[in-house]
């Protein structure tokens, strides 16, 4: 007396992939959706809870074309918040794997490698949190050469590799070196006092963004970057060189990076920069790296004010 059939449902396929097992424990409480910042910041249709539901209801095509499948950057904020301990990013990764197998492609803009500049050093392979770049052999002018290539379905566009590439061979629309340096006040007659590089994910609430925008542009210049991992210490030096008195780099709290380990990469870089400047006896070392947690509403104001006070211009704001 068995009603079992041999057809495998979409849910069965997802559950068969490691990480997808606990899918059906979801009771749709919505914690993951509100813990994640993608819906508020990027895509109103982004909703992990609904993706899990689509899998359970056998809605294969909808799941494969859902922005949730492609935009999850596996930061795992939702995993630590989920009361059912479902590893949601792994379930989404399982759906994504099936989507790629079915021939779907990521709608995100990936980074591009300029093969004329690439030396095949492999640093991008080491820094990428998503294992998107890999090295391959190619014949160039009759000689075998090693070059980097990027899996466009894995690239989340964080720009960590763009910053890491020693030859500037990698770029992505919106976060290329040129686009960031263009925003710096080079050759400006009235440079701002403070240049702030801000990771778009470190400020959760719109109230905090409002604080950032409340400073006059000739006092604080805000440069948005997708992740502090995108920061190149040269950008900070260039900002000082162009006349700004201080640089503030603002990223997410450790463990809360939207791109898994971008803030870790940034911490290493900023510490190295700090050590280097100390060794040079650099006179005005007003460069600071701060990490703001999701619950620290309003902290950005204190950090900017502290920086302005340090260079003696706080009274201007009051």
């Amino acid at each position: 007396m068995s009603h079992a059939t041999n057809t495998q449902t979409f849910a069965d396929e997802v559950k068969a992939i490691p990480g997808g097992e606990h899918l059906e424990l979801c009771y749709s409480c919505g914690t993951c959706v509100s813990k994640c910042m993608i819906q508020q910041k990027l895509e109103p249709d982004y909703n992990p809870r609904r993706l899990l539901r689509m899998v359970m209801m056998d809605m294969r095509q909808e799941a494969f074309t859902s922005p949730t499948t492609w935009m999850c950057s596996e930061c795992d904020l939702c995993y630590s918040a989920c009361p059912q301990e479902i590893h949601i990013s792994q379930v989404i990764a399982a759906v994504k794997q099936l989507a790629v197998e079915a021939g779907y492609q990521s709608p995100l803009t990936p980074v591009e490698v300029n093969e004329d500049l690439c030396s095949g050093c492999g640093i991008c392979v080491m820094v990428c949190p998503y294992e998107a770049p890999s090295l391959f052999e190619k014949e160039v002018n009759g000689e075998m050469d090693r070059l980097s290539q990027v899996d466009t379905n894995k690239c989340m566009g964080c720009g960590i590799c763009v910053a890491a590439c020693p030859l500037g061979a990698i770029s992505r629309e919106g976060v290329s070196n040129q686009e960031i340096t263009d925003q710096l006040p080079i050759q400006s007659t009235q440079p701002p006092k403070l240049v702030t590089f801000i990771c778009d994910w470190s400020l959760r609430e719109s109230a905090d963004i409002d604080i950032l925008e409340s400073y006059p542009a000739d006092l604080v210049k805000v440069i948005h970057i997708p992740c502090t991992g995108r920061i190149d210490p040269q950008h900070a030096m260039m900002a000082l060189d162009s006349g700004a008195e201080a640089v503030l780099v603002c990223g997410c709290k450790s463990g809360e990076c939207h791109f898994k380990r971008g803030n870790y990469v940034a911490t290493c870089k900023m510490n190295l920069l700090d050590t280097m400047l100390s060794q040079f006896n650099f006179p005005n070392k007003h460069i600071r790296f701060v990490q703001i947690g999701t619950q620290e509403r309003g902290r950005i104001r204190h950090e900017i004010d502290a920086m302005l006070a340090e260079i003696g211009v706080l009274e201007v704001t009051q």
Partner: protein, 630 residues
């Protein structure tokens, strides 16, 4: 409560701890520690002059630590009996209370704890529940943001006898909050903290919201929930009323609360599931509905009373549906949330049931028990044969029903305490204990009868009375098809499934044996299944060493609701047998027979077994003869 205290036949003992419970139904011997109050109960009139004079203030537990109390105090103004107590941990021995008490001379610092023994007929346990500490959930900021409080704290703030005389104020600036939110399921339904639903919080938050809305219709109240559970009579109507009053309900478990550092207003981040959108809303004050958890000393209490705990830590009832107020130990009953989180109507119902159960004992001359109790043959006990009792029976008994007073006296079963699981019977290495109606001889006779004819084709299934027997029954009534070669044998508990029975089954040539019982948390005899499981695992290893084909001996825990599982297991076992060529199976059975016989060499010596064997042999002969003539 006052009525109870005044009743001539009710003796209220407050500030008293139960230290030891011995004996059995109708004859408990309970040791109580009456803690020193340092105030003489017969002199104190509860006037409170001492508390007024006392200069020491400590947090008041009853007021959720929102208000102070003195070092000499009553827990609350309605305390029964109204006798003050001195908290010596806080007292500085200034003796101002002694002066204040004056001619009553009720204060006596020389008082000491008194240990008394009482003879008790029946015990009702009503120790209640405790609250989950929400400060471990950092995302809600309890203990960090002043305006995030628990609903219990809100109740005190809103109570006319509470610290603010019923004026609900928010802690940060003492203003009246206008925008309030309740958050349900804080810590409950959460695998990281408390897995279960706390049962009453939905109604509790609706009640509080309605109460606040009635007092001030202008306040804006929101309840965040995962699911609203209103399963009892009139509850759904109450939920409807709350919505009609304008209380907002948002389905979506908040993931984060942030605070504005200037105003101390709070921002709740959640998904509105109806909209599928993330929303951020501002509130003046937030109340958390924490999960209900067992009392911190519930484990200690369970060992004092010798009653088991369910997986969540609550006291375990005799039967979850049919006897929720009875403990597995006769004469001990549960009332209220100590057995599991429940609301007031359910607690009242269970309390009434428990007290009527208890009074049934108090009004009985005799107490009837199940007849399937264990009995010791004193002449076979190692205390008699070797002069030293091994004590295994006393160790395995889940009820502590076996007494071994000294090593030279045979074990003694306290019949009133015995529930008839049969653990001691199966474990006794001397076969010195038997269980009435489930004697070795009786079970053996059944085994020989079912294995009389073509035993190598048969699957002998040992089922426990409460679970796997029910599972097999359900498989039958649900028409789940399973192999017709199964032969079921019922015992009360998997703890009774003696190794001798399994060896004997294989010696008789059985094709396969199933060892089945309850899941560990379902065991009807507290820890009987654990004893059975341990033995079954030992048997598995033994049979592996004997190189028996895998699958011929199988151990499965099947609940009474798992008819499908029972059928599946049997079918899988049949498949194992089908996959062994008949000659190979016969050869294996013959090969193992001497080893089984060796392990069974003491078995025929058990009283009744030889007779049962002889008798059943004549039956078996008759069966085979009948078959041949047919």
């Amino acid at each position: 409560m006052v009525d109870a205290a005044r009743h001539p036949r009710i003796d209220v003992r407050t500030y008293t701890e139960v230290e030891k419970v011995e004996g059995f139904v109708g004859n408990f011997n309970v040791t109580l520690r009456e803690k020193a109050k340092y105030v003489l109960a017969d002199r104190c009139n509860g006037c409170g002059d001492c508390a007024q004079a006392c200069p020491i203030e400590v947090p008041n537990y009853f007021e959720m630590n929102l208000a102070p109390r003195k070092a000499v105090y009553v827990p609350m103004s309605q305390s029964v009996p109204l006798i003050y107590t001195i908290d010596l941990d806080a007292c500085i021995h200034c003796y101002k209370c002694v002066d204040a008490c004056g001619p009553l001379e009720a204060i006596d610092f020389s008082q000491e704890d008194k240990v008394v023994e009482e003879e008790i007929g029946a015990i009702v346990v009503a120790t209640g529940f405790s609250h989950f500490d929400p400060s471990v959930m950092e995302e809600y900021g309890y203990g960090v943001y002043p305006n995030v409080i628990t609903s219990m704290e809100m109740e005190r703030l809103n109570n006319s006898a509470g610290p603010t005389a019923g004026n609900l104020i928010r802690p940060s600036d003492h203003t009246n909050p206008q925008k309030l939110a309740f958050i349900n399921c804080v810590g409950s339904r959460d695998k990281r903290y408390v897995q279960s639903c706390s049962n009453f919080c939905c109604m509790y938050s609706i009640k509080n919201a309605v109460l606040l809305k009635q007092m001030n219709p202008d306040v804006d109240i929101t309840i965040y929930y995962i699911d609203i559970r209103t399963p009892s009579k009139g509850y759904e109507e109450f939920y409807d009323r709350a919505r009609e009053m304008g209380i907002h309900f948002i389905q979506g478990r908040p993931s984060l609360i942030t605070e504005d550092e200037q105003t101390h207003n709070l921002f709740v981040h959640s998904e509105d599931i109806a909209l599928g959108r993330v929303i951020e809303r501002e509130y003046d004050m937030i109340m958390l509905n924490q999960a209900a958890i067992p009392q911190p000393d519930q484990g200690h209490m369970s060992s004092v009373l010798n009653v088991a705990q369910s997986p969540g830590g609550w006291f375990m009832e005799y039967h979850p549906k049919l006897r929720p107020m009875d403990s597995p130990t006769d004469g001990i009953f549960f009332a209220g949330a100590c057995q599991g989180p429940k609301d007031i109507p359910s607690s009242v119902a269970q309390g009434s049931a428990a007290s009527s159960r208890a009074s049934r004992i108090l009004h009985s001359e005799k107490w009837e028990i199940e007849p399937t109790v264990a009995v010791v043959w004193p002449d076979r006990c190692s205390a008699t044969t070797r002069g030293k009792a091994c004590g295994i029976c006393a160790k395995v008994c889940p009820y502590g029903a076996i007494n071994i007073f000294d090593p030279e006296t045979p074990a003694e079963v306290v019949t009133a305490k015995c529930h008839g699981c049969g653990a001691c019977v199966a474990e006794c290495p001397e076969d010195a204990i038997t269980q009435l109606h489930f004697t070795d001889a009786q079970i053996l006779a059944q085994m020989r009868a079912v294995l009389a004819d073509e035993p190598e084709k048969k699957i002998l299934a040992f089922r426990c009375h409460w679970c796997s027997y029910g599972g097999a029954d359900l498989a039958g009534t649900s028409h789940f098809e399973y192999t017709a070669n199964e032969r079921g044998l019922r015992v009360m508990c998997s703890a009774r499934m003696d190794t001798d029975f399994i060896y004997e089954a294989y010696r008789l040539g059985a094709g396969a044996v199933l060892y089945s019982g309850c899941h560990p948390q379902d065991c009807h005899y507290i820890t009987g299944q654990l004893i059975g499981a341990k033995r079954a695992n030992r048997l598995k290893k033994i049979f592996d060493r004997m190189e028996m084909t895998k699958g011929r001996f199988r151990v499965e825990w099947v609940s009474a609701a798992e008819g499908d599982k029972y059928a599946r297991v049997l079918n899988e076992m049949q498949e194992v047998l089908d996959n062994i060529p008949p000659e190979e199976l016969k050869a294996e059975i013959e090969k193992l027979k001497p080893q089984m016989s060796k392990r069974l060499r003491k078995f025929p010596g058990v009283p009744g077994v030889q007779e049962a064997m002889d008798y059943s042999d004549t039956l078996v002969d008759a069966i085979i003869h009948q078959k041949e003539t047919a």
